[in-house]
């Protein structure tokens, strides 16, 4: 017997880790952002950018935020350059993620300052719009979390949102807003149940099932919309939920209007996200649901009914998405238009991935997408040299960046997308 040679270590065993490579890429991205911010946003800015924080009629008026545009952007560029160089030189530190997040936030701020330079702009208004725009994405993302936690990939969220929007408009017109919400939730749940039936009982491919449900809902809603709504307009004229100001909290500057003076759907989304977090991570049935998503056979051997768990959670997901769908009609314009969800269901899925399959993570990610959306809408009003079509692409491009940049690093439930066949 001879011991293996462990003495002659390679003298300079430098190991190229994924983290190090990623850190270098981050560094390059940050340096690129620094150059962009300095050359375009810094060099191209004149005057001050004025951000409005409160309206004159608010109980407590706080002064506007006035930023000297060029100086701010040069400083931002300097910070970006510092972060980038540091990241490039000493890659792999645990600050990578923080650096890149701070970097993107700074670059966005610089962009905003550049676009507002010499003008003024209500920051509070934009943040409030961000929260509103985030609602359907967050609820779509939450629906994704609930079903993917039991390992059912839910591409049907788009369809469920659309079904919720349609039902909300129809039943809202007939029976009033609350009934509209109730039926939207029920119909969303019905499609969740159908998805569960197709993939669990009839073992249809999960992605195909989701796509087909979306196609079906698109077909039905477009059909009824052109066959019925065009003729009977009163069926598509629902009341809209107005904002409810929460006493006292709603008067806090900035935070008040953004968080505490909103409508049913914003509060509903926040409550649902909290409840879902409690359910998934602090209850018995949540533990069982997650076990079904991670290792269904193990759950089965312990007497947990895998199929029933999937049915229940996917149906719940559908109900959440149905509620989110009602936002489009009852929480916003009061009438249904064909394809009015415009892909937000898919952006919700991206929020779920970015949020690492956690309800709060999905909410945070949805806020980022909502920000991108409200930013482009505000900027389309403030005149910028960028064509409005390209600004409108911002949420889509942000989604692609997020999915491309983060998908490899967050871990989905282990059994995600796999049918479970009981023996």
């Amino acid at each position: 017997m001879t011991a293996a040679s462990t003495t002659d270590l390679a003298p300079d065993a430098k190991i190229d880790t994924h983290k190090a490579r990623q850190a270098r890429i981050y560094g390059i991205v940050l340096i690129g952002l620094a150059v962009l911010v300095a050359a375009v946003f810094g060099y191209g800015s004149e005057g001050n950018a004025t951000f409005g924080l409160s309206r004159p009629r608010d109980p407590w008026v706080i002064p506007n935020l006035v930023v000297p545009a060029a100086s701010f952007n040069y400083i931002a560029a300097a910070v970006l350059a510092f972060l980038g160089v540091r990241q490039f030189m000493r890659g792999g530190s645990r600050w990578s993620t923080v650096s890149i997040a701070v970097g993107f936030a700074l670059a966005t701020a610089a962009f905003l300052v550049w676009a507002t330079a010499g003008k003024s702009f209500s920051l509070t208004g934009m943040l409030s719009a961000t929260v509103v725009a985030a609602v359907p994405i967050a609820l779509g993302g939450l629906a994704g979390v609930l079903s993917e936690r039991v390992a059912v990939v839910n591409i049907a969220i788009e369809g469920m949102l659309l079904a919720g929007a349609f039902t909300g408009a129809l039943m809202g017109s007939l029976l009033g807003g609350w009934a509209g919400v109730l039926f939207a939730v029920l119909v969303g749940g019905l499609f969740g149940f159908i998805l569960a039936a197709l993939v669990v009982t009839y073992r249809m491919d999960q992605i195909i099932a989701g796509v087909v449900i979306t196609l079906f809902v698109t077909g039905v809603t477009s059909y009824v919309s052109s066959q019925v709504f065009s003729e009977y307009r009163f069926l598509n004229n629902a009341p809209v939920f107005r904002a409810w100001k929460i006493p006292f909290l709603g008067d806090i500057p900035v935070i008040g209007p953004v968080l505490f003076n909103q409508n049913l759907f914003v509060y509903g989304a926040l409550i649902l996200v909290s409840v879902a977090t409690y359910y998934l991570f602090h209850t018995r049935y949540g533990l069982r649901a997650r076990s079904v998503g991670e290792h269904p056979r193990a759950a089965d051997t312990l007497g947990i009914n895998v199929y029933r768990t999937r049915y229940i959670n996917v149906t719940l997901a559908g109900m959440v998405a149905g509620f989110g769908g009602a936002w489009f009609t009852l929480g916003s314009v009061g009438r249904f238009d064909e394809n009015m969800t415009g892909g937000l269901g898919y952006i919700g899925l991206a929020a779920m991935i970015f949020g690492r399959w956690h309800p709060f993570g999905a909410l945070m990610a949805a806020l980022i997408f909502g920000f991108a959306d409200s930013l482009q809408q505000k900027l389309a009003i403030v005149r910028t040299p960028i064509p409005s079509e390209f600004l409108a692409m911002a949420p889509y491009l942000a989604t692609i960046v997020v999915v491309a940049g983060f998908v490899g690093r967050s871990r989905p439930p282990a059994a995600d997308g796999k049918p479970y066949v009981k023996e």
Partner: protein, 376 residues
Amino acid sequence: MTDTTSQSNLADKLLQRAAPGRAEFEDLVVVPIFAVIVALIVGALIMLATAVDIETIGRSYLALLQGSVGSMNAISETLTSAIPLVLAGLGLALGFRAGLFNIGAEGQIVVGGIAAVIVGFSFPNMPWIIHMPLALLAGAVAGGLYASIAGYLRAATGAHEVITTIMLNLSSYLLLSYMLGLEWMQRPGRSDPVSKSVLPSAELPRLLTDIDPNLRLHAGIFVMIAAVILVHWLLFKTRTGFEYRASGENPDAARYAGMHASAIIVFAMATAGALAGLAGANQVLGVLERATPGFSSGIGFDAISVALLGRSHPVGVLFAGLLFGALEAGGRQMQVDAGVSIDLISIIQALIIVFIAAPLLVRAIFPWGFKKPAGR
């Protein structure tokens, strides 16, 4: 061991192929037929639910039949509608075979159409023998490049193509709307977003105008047939096709076998996008002769259904595309004759796919149509 002659006999025995069984027949014939029938029945129920009376329902299905195969014009319309569906469907089928759920055909059609239109109106003095193929090629290349963005992202970062292709679809509409507003692109004298017209030298010539000047069937049908043959050859007779299929069935095994997974993903996406781009080019060069907002009219989404219904097999896609083309053409007739919205057709199409993709469901509904319950 045994001697060589009996060994080679043994080997010959292994080369015998089992006759196609009852199960295959059920899978390829019975299930699709049931799927179509059930979808039509559910479609009728939906019409009933939206207060369409029985007589009108009868009239609409009659119109559906007449409008799709009832006359020369109907057949011409069916084929014309089928061309882009089959082309894009082939692209999607190719992607599915390679394990890529590309639902970005819509965006690839849009981008391919834009490129084809630009080439189509830009070269005034070019002979058609060069101009038309060049315009088609431009569509294919643009579609291919657009799809390979999603392919690259999937290969390099693992970003799921379902999400990226949908985002690219949505972006493509905005891109189209932006480009149609550009001065050099917009038709002179128009304020609405319409592109310049494709020059006659780039048009896909109409084939049946000698019979009746209104017949719209165009030379794109030859492109379609060529594409079916080419994709079949590519998938089943070539090394590349073997690699696509292996990578689609089991990416780990493909890697183990020394295949280059990332390259396969990018190339498969690019090929799929090129076919979709070709579909877009066919629409603008053969049917519309210009680009307008929404010229893709959801063909990319119908193509998903076509590819699924055709079981991702080129010949299957051809038949599925013809069926969907017939539904499309018949649906237009139905809208005119019976006043039933053409959106009903997309419901019927979605239902067909549900039953095709879940044969267990069809068996559950029609247990007597099958020899034995699914006992696997």
